[in-house]
Every structure is written in C-alpha cells, then in structure tokens.
C-alpha cells in the first residue's frame, strides 16, 4: 500500500511492514490468528515481483524461507502456536547457519489446539528455548497495529544486520484488532539491506562467523550445514570450532541487545519518577495494564509502567537499573506467569507479583488495578 493513513488489522499491518522492509519471499501454512498476514502477503507479493508459496506444513514453510534466504531474498513466514512448535527444528537450523529470516508467531491460547483461535502469550519461552541446543533469539513484542508494521520492519533490519533469525511474538488480539496505521513514504523508515559477501572482503573463504551473507549462484561453492562446522562450512566436530560458533551466536545477540537499547527498542517507561511500584507488561496484555496504571495514577497511587518492546534478548541491564529502588513489581501477561521469572531474576529486593491470565482472555484493566491498589493498601 502507498504511504498514507489506513484503518486495518494487525495482520495486514505486519504484512505491509514486511513488504516495506523488502520481503520478497513468504512461505506459509494457514492458521488463525496468522491468516490475515498470510492472505495479505499472498495478495501483495506478486505486485512487487515477489513470491508467495503455500506449503504443505509449517516444517516446510520454515525450511523454504531458509532456502530462499540463501538464494538472496528477504524472507518471512507467519504462524501461530501449533505451527510455531513445528518450526522449532528448522528454526534451530537457521540459528546455526546464521540465516536471516523473520518468523511471526501470532500467539493463541494453548497448549495444543487449545482455544483455537483465541489470543494468548504462552509461547514467549518457546521463543527463547523452543529449539534444541543453545540459541540467543531476538524477539519483538508489538502492542498495537502500528507496531505490527514497525516491528516487522525492525525484525527484518535486525535479521539482516546480525545475520540471524528474528521473531515477532505477536498475539491474536493485536492481529485481529483494527487501528489506524500510518505507512511512511519509501525511505522515511530506515530499512537495512543485506551485507553482500564478496571475494574482496577479508577471509573470503569463510562464510560463517561474519555479518556478510553469501548467496547461492555466485560461484562461492558454499557449504551450508546444520552440523557443527569450521568457518568455511566444512563439517567438523572439534570442540573449538563449535564453541566458537555458539559463542558467536551469543555475542551477536548481546550486540543486538545493545543496539535495541540505543534505538529505544528494548522497552518504554511511563510514570516512573518516584514510583514505588511498577507494572511490567508487553504485547496485548500491556494495553489494559497501561490503562490500570493511568487510573491508579489518577487515584493518587504512585505506580510506574514498563512495557517490554523486546522480550529477547531480555533487556536485563536496563530493567535492573529501573527496578533498583522499587518495592513491588507486578508482571501482567497472558499466560500462567512466564516473563515474570525473568523479572524476578533481576528484581533486587522487590516483591514480584504475577498477574497471569489464561483461557483466551485479555486482562480487564479493573482486575489489574485491584491487584495494584490492594498491594498498595497492604
């Protein structure tokens, strides 16, 4: 869609963000709440000489976007919990082979088919630990239709910059919801393109442990493998080689964390001055949470608000500094309490109170407010 103001659902915004970022290959398998992303990509990609392919399942979708990325394309898939589970093995392949791809998980209430297709935030730990082996993911958490657009572009930018898969951990609520969306003019929103791999770079025979991304068909005789490998791609199980690969994956995530902090993409805060307690939330859950904080403030309760924009790498240092003198931390999320463990880990002296919500519902701001007020009165 051209630059301008629209009124669309989060799925359409996500797809438009992908097109804006230069995505030219999408492989997917239908699943709600990701359906509107998939259908919008199917509509839009041919218009920009891109490829939309409906695959036979999510294992294939994940595989196809990795293959297409090595052929030089910016690539994406979108799914929901059941499909995200199926993607885990090949997602691990993308981490190990340092392949830029974007995966959108429009989370729904699980486990299993659960309450298809009601929203949830129960996959946030799967994003962190879902594939076997050590990985260090980058996962965004949009809370509005506009952020579905913006964060999808950021996800592409981080994938390209750090040569890694990135995740947009959306949820059903944000995908279904309609809100105003501003699409900027081409060039107005920064879009990073892939660092090309050429023989003139130093270490031309090494295709891994570097940011430049080679591509098939350029005569490099690439050896791309999900086995442990030397930097030149030759399979090699010597501990020093594999250790270097894993450490490099973690180093990139650390650098990404720093970049996210500098770009103010890690978290945002409000009402923090002299707050004694804080509500931490993200994604759809952050909407009622923010509303509750606003109401509490109106009632003279000094409670602050932190919204995580990135779940992984967990904005640990930044959050730790913010939480230094805080007495109580409420963590609002649409699961039985997942990110709350990350918060508790760095919470210093504070009491950490989980405000979970499952069964396909978004919190009511009133129940969050009640919990905050009660704790405040106690």
């Amino acid at each position: 869609m051209k630059a301008g103001l629209y009124f669309v659902d989060g799925g359409v915004a996500c797809a438009e963000g992908a097109i804006y970022a230069g995505c030219r290959f999408f492989a997917g398998y239908p699943i709600t709440p990701a359906t509107s992303i998939v259908e919008q990509m199917a509509l839009r990609l041919p218009q920009v000489k891109g490829y939309f392919v409906q695959m036979e399942d999510e294992l294939a979708s994940m595989a196809a976007i990795i293959g297409a990325s090595w052929s030089g394309g910016k690539t994406m898939t979108a799914t929901s919990g059941p499909g995200f589970s199926l993607m885990q093995e090949n997602l691990g392949y993308a981490y190990l082979t340092e392949t830029p791809v974007v995966v959108v998980d429009a989370q729904r209430s699980g486990p299993s088919t659960g309450q298809a297709t009601m929203p949830g935030q129960q996959d946030v730990m799967q994003a962190r630990y879902g594939t076997h082996g050590d990985i260090a993911p980058i996962a965004f958490s949009p809370w509005s239709v506009q952020e579905m657009f913006d964060f999808t572009i950021h996800a592409f930018n981080y994938a390209e910059k750090f040569r890694t898969p990135t995740l947009v951990m959306a949820d059903g609520e944000i995908c279904y919801m309609r809100e105003p969306l501003t699409i900027p003019k081409p060039g107005a929103f920064p879009v990073l393109n892939r660092k090309r791999f050429t023989k003139s770079h130093p270490r031309p025979e090494e295709i891994f442990l570097r940011y430049e991304m080679p591509r098939f068909g350029d005569g490099h005789n690439l050896l791309v493998t999900g086995s442990a490998h030397r930097p030149n791609g030759v399979r090699d199980y010597t501990p020093t080689f594999h250790r270097a690969t894993i450490e490099w994956i973690f180093k990139k995530s650390q650098q990404a964390g720093q970049a996210l902090y500098e770009e103010k993409l890690d978290l945002e805060v409000s009402y923090l001055d002299s707050a004694e307690s804080i509500v931490v939330s993200f994604g759809a859950a952050a909407r009622p949470a923010y509303h509750a904080v606003q109401t509490a403030q109106k009632n003279g309760v000094n409670v602050g608000f932190v919204r995580l924009k990135t779940l992984w790498p967990f904005p640990e240092a930044h959050l730790r500094a913010l939480l230094k003198d805080i007495q109580r931390i409420f963590v609002v999320e649409m699961n039985m309490g997942m990110m709350v463990h990350e918060v508790a880990r760095i919470a210093c002296q504070a009491d950490v109170i989980s405000i979970p919500k499952v069964a396909g519902e978004v919190h009511d701001a009133k129940e969050i407010l009640k919990a905050v007020m009660e704790a405040d009165a106690a």
Binding site: V53, A63, W70, Y93, G233, R235
Partner: protein, 300 residues
C-alpha cells in the same frame, strides 16, 4: 587401460579436480553412495560441456543420512545440508527465489520417504523444478540398519527381527503424485544413471530418480536371492566384499525400451522390480504460475 582411466569418460583426476573436495568420503567400503557421486559429476560435466548448465548455478541440497553426505561436503558447488527429511522443502525456497539455480536434492529412503514423505509428494505435485535423487538402500544406514519404508518384508533389521511391513514402491508413489519425470535404476546401471541424470537435471519440472543402492554394512543380507547355494569359497568372498556381491543382485535382465531408455527388471524376494524411465512429460511448473501472477498488477 591406464590406471587412472575408467570406462566412463575422462581420467578420474579430471573429475576430482573440477568437481570434488574434502576427500576421501566417509562411506563404508563397497557402499553405493560413491558410485552415485561419480555418476552425478559425470552428468554435470557433460551438461556443462554441452552448455546446458553453468557450474555456479548448481545447488545440491540434502537432508540427513549417509545419502545426504554424497554432495556435502564433497561436491564442489553450492551445497545446503539441511535437517532430516526437509531437504526438498529447503530446496523449494532456494529454487523459487532464484529460478536460475539447477537444484538437485540427495535424499535417502528414510529421509525422503518416511520423515520427509510429505514434502516429496507435494513437490512432485507442484512440479517445482528440481531433481530428486532418492538413494534407496533399503534401510536406515546412518543410524545403524533400522527398518525403513522400503525394507523388504520379513528381513531382520536392528529394530524388527522380522520386518513386518510391505515395502513402499517409491517410483509408483511419484507417478501417483504427479512427478513429471520418473526413473528408477540400481547402482549397477551407472551409464543409465548418467544418461538419465542429464535429462532430469535439465527437465523443466520435478524429476525423480530412485536409485536402489547397496548398503553392505547393514543391508547385505536383504538381497537374499543370490546368497542361496553359495559354495564355502563364495560365502567367504561375500563376507569380505558384500558390496560387490550385492551389485550382482542389482543387475537385472533387459525387458525393453521406454522413453528412449532401456528397461530392465531385477527380482527382489521373487517380486519383479522394473527399472527404466517411466515418465517424461512437460507441464507448467509452480514457478511459471507464480511469475504469471506478476502480470495481474493490482493496486500497489
């Protein structure tokens, strides 16, 4: 014959220098995988010489298993060594994003027909242009001789004392799934494999070549027909060189000609297995369709 010569084209050094790397391979002595690699490089060399293929456009994709190690890390060209069963799905993305690539998938009977069977049938149905070489060694070689979907009935594997399932006829499966080029050979028919590969690799659509291959380490006893009535001396030879002896069972009798290629028949457990080129047809590919969509310009 000169030491370095062979009856299949140029001296071995020629192929080794141009097309191979990281030798020796890790295959067991007598394994059919080396033969298949040899056939592949000869087909590639001929196609390059005939200007029907450019070396830099060759992409070999493989899954997990001994057969997946045929191109990776040995073929000097782009290779993508993926996860178990998923090679065809990876290849689908790579091919669509860059249709100039000539994509060959190396897969096993477990990789391609068990865990990856779904991708195999759908790639065939979509007619996505790529060549799938399915190395049917009648078992799971890499993990130690377990039952595969192709394992002959009642043989002993490391998971079943008496394998209970009827084997899958993969070429028939591919015909049913709509593959536009389907051939089957055994590793005995090296010239035929080369000739067929040359056709398949430039075939405008999905091509499937099943190669029944010998796994002397785990599946020698499966090809039972030729073992009966062996003299003690022959039995000793068989014990020492099971791969060579398995090849005897993989040699059939000529039954005719189809699609310009000879037909043969081998017998496995008294059942005839046809070899030859079963189908060769042209029909639109998925990539044709996807690119046609570019012309229906909507509101961009």
């Amino acid at each position: 014959m000169n030491k370095s010569e062979n009856n299949l084209g140029k001296p071995q050094e020629y192929y080794r220098e141009r097309y191979l790397r990281n030798l020796p391979t890790a295959f067991c002595a007598g394994c059919g995988n080396g033969t298949i690699l040899n056939c592949f490089v000869r087909a590639v060399d001929d196609l390059i010489k005939d200007k029907q293929l450019q070396h830099q456009n060759i992409l070999s994709v493989s899954g997990i298993g001994c057969s997946a190690w045929i191109p990776s890390p040995h073929f000097k060209g782009d290779t993508l060594h993926t996860t178990h069963g998923r090679a065809i799905a990876f290849a689908t993305g790579a091919k669509i994003m860059n249709p100039k690539l000539q994509v060959t998938v190396f897969t096993g009977d477990g990789d391609g027909a068990a865990i990856g069977g779904n991708h195999l049938i759908h790639a065939a149905r979509r007619n996505i242009p790529m060549t799938v070489i399915l190395v049917n060694n009648l078992n799971y070689g890499m993990t130690g001789g377990q039952s595969a979907p192709t394992t002959p009935l009642h043989v002993q594997t490391s998971t079943y004392p008496k394998h209970p399932e009827t084997p899958f006829d993969l070429s028939q499966l591919m015909l049913g799934a709509g593959a536009s080029y389907v051939a089957r050979w055994t590793t005995y028919y090296v010239n035929e494999i080369v000739a067929t590969l040359k056709e398949a690799m430039i075939h405008p659509g999905f091509s499937f070549i099943e190669i029944i291959s010998q796994c002397p380490t785990y599946a020698a006893q499966f090809l039972t027909e030729f073992q009966t009535g062996l003299t003690p001396e022959e039995q000793e030879q068989f014990r020492r060189q099971p791969g060579a002896w398995m090849l005897k069972a993989l040699k059939g009798k000529k039954t005719g000609v189809t699609n310009g290629h000879p037909r043969y028949q081998i017998t496995l457990q008294e059942k005839p297995i046809d070899l030859g080129v079963f189908k060769q047809e042209k029909r639109p590919t998925l990539i044709d369709y996807l690119q046609e969509l570019w012309n229906n310009k909507g509101d961009a």
